[in-house]
C-alpha cells in the first residue's frame, strides 16, 4: 500500500461498553482457579475525581512466566489461561480483574477512556525488587516516588490494588515502547 505511516488513534469514546465488554472479559481465570487473585483499583483524573468511563486491558504471562498461546479469550472456559482481560470502570471509577500473579512479576496494562485520544500503556508490578524478588530495569530506572505508581499493593486476602492516576499528584508512569 506504499504508505506505511501509522494509522492515528482516536478516543474509545463514552459508549464502548456494548462493543468491547463481553461475558467474562474481566475474568482472566475463574475465582476458584488455583492461585486466583483479584487485581483491582480506581482510575482517577487530574482533579482526583474517579473516571467512570475508562476501559483497562491486561496482558500477562501465567504463574510460571510463560506466554499463553491458548485461544478462548473471547469465549471463556473454566480451564484455559489465555493471559488477556478487559474491564470497564464503574460509576465509581473502579475496575476489577480476576487473574493469577504472573511469573514475570508484572502485568501489562492498556488504559482507554473518553477524553483520552490515544491509549496509555503502563505495567502493574507485584514486587518492587527490594526484597530480593525479581529486579526490573524499568523499576530500577525510576525515582522512588514514581516507581511506587507501578506497584500493585496487597490489600487483603489474594487481593492487590493498582490505582491509575491519569494526571497530577501521583501520576502513573506511562510507557512508550521503543
Amino acid at each position: 500500500m506504499g504508505d506505511r505511516v501509522q494509522t492515528p488513534s482516536q478516543t474509545v469514546g463514552p459508549f464502548f461498553h456494548f462493543g468491547l465488554e463481553y461475558d467474562g472479559s474481566a475474568q482472566v481465570v475463574p475465582g476458584h482457579y488455583p492461585g486466583a487473585i483479584r487485581l483491582h483499583g480506581t482510575v482517577f483524573d487530574g482533579g482526583q475525581a474517579p473516571v467512570p468511563d475508562a476501559l483497562l486491558e491486561i496482558w500477562q504471562t501465567d504463574a510460571a512466566g510463560l506466554v499463553s498461546r491458548e485461544r478462548g479469550s473471547l469465549l471463556r472456559n473454566e480451564f484455559a489461561f489465555t493471559g488477556f482481560g478487559r474491564a470497564a470502570t464503574n460509576l465509581g471509577g473502579e475496575y476489577a480483574f480476576t487473574t493469577v500473579r504472573p511469573g514475570t512479576g508484572f502485568v501489562t496494562v492498556a488504559v482507554f477512556a473518553r477524553g483520552l485520544s490515544h491509549h496509555l500503556f503502563t505495567r502493574a508490578y507485584f514486587d518492587d525488587g527490594t526484597g530480593g524478588g525479581a529486579s526490573d530495569s524499568l523499576l530500577a530506572s525510576l525515582p522512588p516516588s514514581r516507581r511506587s505508581t507501578l506497584l500493585a499493593m496487597p490489600d487483603g486476602d489474594r487481593s492487590f490494588r493498582f490505582d491509575v492516576r491519569l494526571q497530577g499528584d501521583g501520576e502513573t508512569v506511562f510507557l512508550e515502547y521503543s
Binding site: M1, T7, V67, S68, R71, H118, G168, L175, E176
Partner: protein
C-alpha cells in the same frame, strides 16, 4: 459552554502552530494530541509527565491468541443480528491491516462498534433522542485473513450531537479496535466517511493536528466493493506500529 466559533478558532490556532513546527523541520505528528484543549474532556485526562521509554519485554512482543474459534464468521455482518433488516444505507467496509514494515497482520482480532443510521448508540447512557432500531445493535468482530484483509457489512452510521460545546456534532464514524501480533501494536481508532461537512468542526477528529495524518482515517468510496442493487462499498486500510520499527512520533514533540 463554548460556541462552535470559539472551538473552531482554537482548532485553527493549534493547527497553524503545528504546521509552523513542521515547516521548521519537525516531523508531522502521527497521533492525536492527548492534551488538546478544544476537546474539553481531555483537560484532566492526559498525563503531564513524559512517557517513559522502555524496551518491550518478551510477553509484550506477543498478542493474545484470538482465533477463528473465538469469533463466528456471522459476526462480521452487522445487518443480520436481528429478525428484520436495519434501517439505513447498507455498506461494506473492507481493507487490509499491515504493520509498519508493510507486512500483513494475519489472524488478529478486529472489533467494531457504531451508532445506528439515526445517530443513536445502543447504550443506556446515550441520551440523544434519536430512535433506536430494533434490528440494529451495531457490534461486529472479525479475524483478519492471511493477507491481513477484513470485511464488514453494516449500515452507514448517522452523525450525532454531543456536549463538548454548543451545537457540537460528531461526523459519522465507526469505532475500530485492533490487535497486532505484539501487544505494543494495540490500536483503537475511528473510521470516517469521505466528504463529511463536520470534519473541520470536530475537535476529536482535529485532535490529530497534521492534515495528512487525519486523512488516514477516512475510508475511500470503492465502486468495485459496491454490490449491485444492494450496498455501497468503502475501503479503509490500517497500518499498525512496528514491530520493532520506531514510533513515528516527532522527536522534538513537547508533551
Amino acid at each position: 459552554m463554548a460556541t462552535q466559533q470559539v472551538i473552531t478558532e482554537e482548532i485553527r490556532r493549534i493547527e497553524t502552530d503545528a504546521a509552523a513546527r513542521v515547516q521548521g523541520g519537525q516531523s508531522p505528528e502521527v497521533h492525536p494530541r492527548r492534551d488538546y484543549p478544544p476537546y474539553r474532556s481531555s483537560a484532566l485526562r492526559h498525563p503531564t509527565q513524559n512517557l517513559v521509554k522502555v524496551d518491550p519485554e518478551e510477553v509484550e512482543r506477543y498478542s493474545p491468541a484470538f482465533g477463528h474459534w473465538d469469533v463466528s464468521p456471522l459476526e462480521s455482518d452487522l445487518t443480520i443480528a436481528h429478525r428484520g433488516e436495519p434501517l439505513g444505507e447498507r455498506i461494506t467496509v473492507t481493507g487490509r491491516v499491515v504493520d509498519g514494515d508493510g507486512r500483513p497482520v494475519r489472524g488478529q482480532l478486529i472489533e467494531l462498534w457504531q451508532a445506528n443510521s439515526a445517530g443513536r448508540y445502543v447504550h443506556k447512557r446515550d441520551q440523544h433522542p434519536a430512535p433506536l432500531d430494533p434490528n440494529f445493535t451495531g457490534v461486529g468482530r472479525v479475524i483478519t485473513g492471511e493477507d491481513g484483509s477484513y470485511r464488514f457489512r453494516t449500515i452507514k452510521p448517522g452523525p450525532y450531537p454531543w456536549k463538548n460545546h454548543t451545537n457540537a456534532w460528531r461526523p459519522a464514524h465507526v469505532h475500530f479496535s485492533l490487535f497486532g501480533s505484539q501487544f505494543t501494536q494495540r490500536l483503537v481508532t475511528q473510521m470516517y466517511f469521505p466528504g463529511d461537512p463536520l470534519f473541520a468542526l470536530d475537535p476529536i477528529y482535529q485532535s490529530i493536528v497534521d492534515p495528512a495524518a487525519r486523512a488516514r482515517l477516512i475510508g475511500t468510496y470503492d465502486h468495485d466493493t459496491s454490490v449491485p442493487d444492494v450496498s455501497l462499498g468503502y475501503r479503509w486500510d490500517i497500518v499498525l506500529t512496528g514491530p520493532r520499527s520506531t514510533w513515528l512520533e516527532p522527536e522534538h514533540a513537547d508533551g
